[in-house]
């Protein structure tokens, strides 16, 4: 899980799994790890979800945590357009570190229509670059399971 500060990465993970580690790990060592068992096309899959600390001025994400990743979810906040820029920067770094592992861009907080800031053209432009983009809402549990399962399928492909 990569993304700017307070875009809802942890909420998405919380919506998807039950964690044994507390969130304080994120603020202490910069990562919280969760696990999700699922079946894709009749195959047992274990997803190890590394929820990385939001990239902001106070604490930079540690690139080391990306090493060995099979795929990643880039998360942006639909009500803050600048988080898309952060996501783009993070993707560039992640692509290099993970040797172009598959990823999906999640535009979170899709339930907040009235404060939505991201223009459809922006998303269209990213899709034209080959990016997979999904609109999610951790709060309303919209497209959360689908996002993780889709990434799993992409990683298996």
């Amino acid at each position: 899980m990569l993304g700017a500060f307070a875009v809802g990465k942890t909420s998405l993970v919380q919506q998807y799994v039950n964690s044994i580690f507390s969130e304080k790990y994120q603020t202490t060592i910069g990562v919280k790890i969760d696990q999700k068992q699922l079946i894709i096309d009749g195959q047992d899959i274990t997803l190890m979800l590394w929820d990385l600390y939001g990239d902001d001025d106070f604490m930079k994400m540690k690139p080391t945590y990306l090493i060995g990743a099979s795929g990643y979810l880039l998360v942006a906040d639909g009500t803050r357009s600048e988080t898309i820029d952060v996501a783009i920067q993070l993707q560039a770094m992640a692509a290099a570190t993970t040797n172009n592992a598959p990823f999906i861009l999640l535009i979170n907080k899709s339930d907040l229509d009235e404060t939505w800031e991201i223009a459809p053209e922006t998303l269209l432009r990213l899709q034209q670059r080959g990016w997979q983009v999904l609109l999610t809402s951790a709060k309303k549990d919209l497209m959360v399971d689908e996002a993780f399962e889709k990434l799993a399928k992409m990683m298996l492909a």
Partner: protein, 575 residues
Amino acid sequence: MEKATPQDPEQLAEAARLNELRRLLIGLSQEELRRLQLLLSDPHEFAEELSQLLPYAIRKMIEKGEITVDNLLPFVEDAMHKSIQKNPQRLADILFPVMGPAIRKAVSEDLKRMIAAINASLESGLSPKTLKWRLQAMTSKRSFAEIVLANSYVYHVSHVFLIHRETGLLLHEEQAAESKSLEADLISSMLTAIRDFAQDSFKQATPGSLDEIQVGELKILVEQGPFAVLAAIIEGQPPADYRLTLMETIEAVHYNHVVDLEKFNGDTTVFRHTAKFLQQCLIKAKKTSTSKPPYLLMAFLFLGMAGLGYFLVQRYQHTKLLKSFANALESQAGYHLTNSDVKGRTIYISGLKDPLAAGPDSIREAMNIENRSLEMHFDAYVSADPAILLKRARVFLNPPSGVNLSLSGQTLIVSGKADAAWVQQLGQLTALPDGIQAVDDTGLNQLASDLTWIIPAIEEKSFGFDVNVIKLDNQQQIVFDSLVRAALELENYNQIYNKTLAIYVRSYTKRSNNALANEKVARQRAEEFISLLERSGVKKDLLKSQVLFAEDLNENVSLRTVHFAVFDKNQSGND
């Protein structure tokens, strides 16, 4: 490439046709043929070409399973062996960059091991357990350190994780039978994250340097390999060489699964074969005893010490008391101790004792000593102690109360007053008490005779009567009683001193006016008085009547009175 030289156009066309024919026949251009020819004719060139292909070919063969690493080992080993024999310096040069870190790591491991051993020794402390180990070391001829190392480790390896180094994914997990299941996948990832965090945060130059995490009694030992990491969860203090076990295990895993690890794609099923290696790491050592202080033993020791102390104090006091008793007895007159010895709770005393010496009981009771604590044996002897000499003299002489006895050397000094009989007895002694050589009785006075008070007591009495009356009034009765006591004493006196004293009962009258009649009346009066005395207990033979005439006397006397005089019957004759 062969250079084209300007030639005859006919020749060029022929050559082109020939080339075309070659290409059609064998599919190779002349250039390619020339290169093949060069390879065949020049061994150096051929070897150069082959050297590029061989590693790739071998890798392919290993991947296909046509040959194994084991098949290649003898050749490689043999080659290395010969190479080292031929030129050792070459291998030294190759190993030089590796040996430094390897040696450093070995030294560091040894230091860690030593510190762990010291920690374990300190943890054991100076307990009865350590004393037992020292005894073991002495009897088994092994060093104490060896015994400590063999005994002091108390640990339990509950889980061993094999983790893919790059992805942090769990490859395989083994756990002790009695341990509870952990979220192994999550823990593996988290361990990897922590390792990455430490490495990132502290900018470690050497990767994989997070070797140990300790949380209270729980310890996670991490052993790094090139592709995988081994993590052991341990409760307590493992033996120092446990790190070596982990190293050997991770090496074995790499040796057997190097391709699987290198080409890991997320499928962990192949790593189930690492179970046999990982299980070797699940070791434990039972606690031989709890580390709490041995309260029970301490209590026993304390009670034992207290009991021993009490016994020693009691014995010391008892011995002291018995010795005091012996000293007191020795200083007592009439004793001479020849031996005194304390054995257990009894004192044995032997010696000499004068029969007149006081018994030991008064001293024993004064000192509150039980009779059963004493074993005494005395032979009789004659003591020359002054106190005993005096005692002996007193028994021998039986002096009356007015007599004092004292000693001057061996001379008995007798002083005071004694009656004539005792004085006479003393003067007639034919033998003296033992230990007394002489008697000095110059200070002894004989008591005056009792007559001095009896005779006046008798003779001072007188009774006056009316005519023809012999009757005592109340006043006279008191005087009469006194007279009777004196008369009775006179009788005793006669008996003691063998005397014959008697009392005249004198009745006074006058010659004038019929002397005879007067005498008769007077005698009768005397006789009647005698009978009065007789009735009071005075013996008759002590009494004698006597009539005296006033005219015969030189003094004035009252008539019709009775007086008394003491006389000796043997000397007076018949009056």
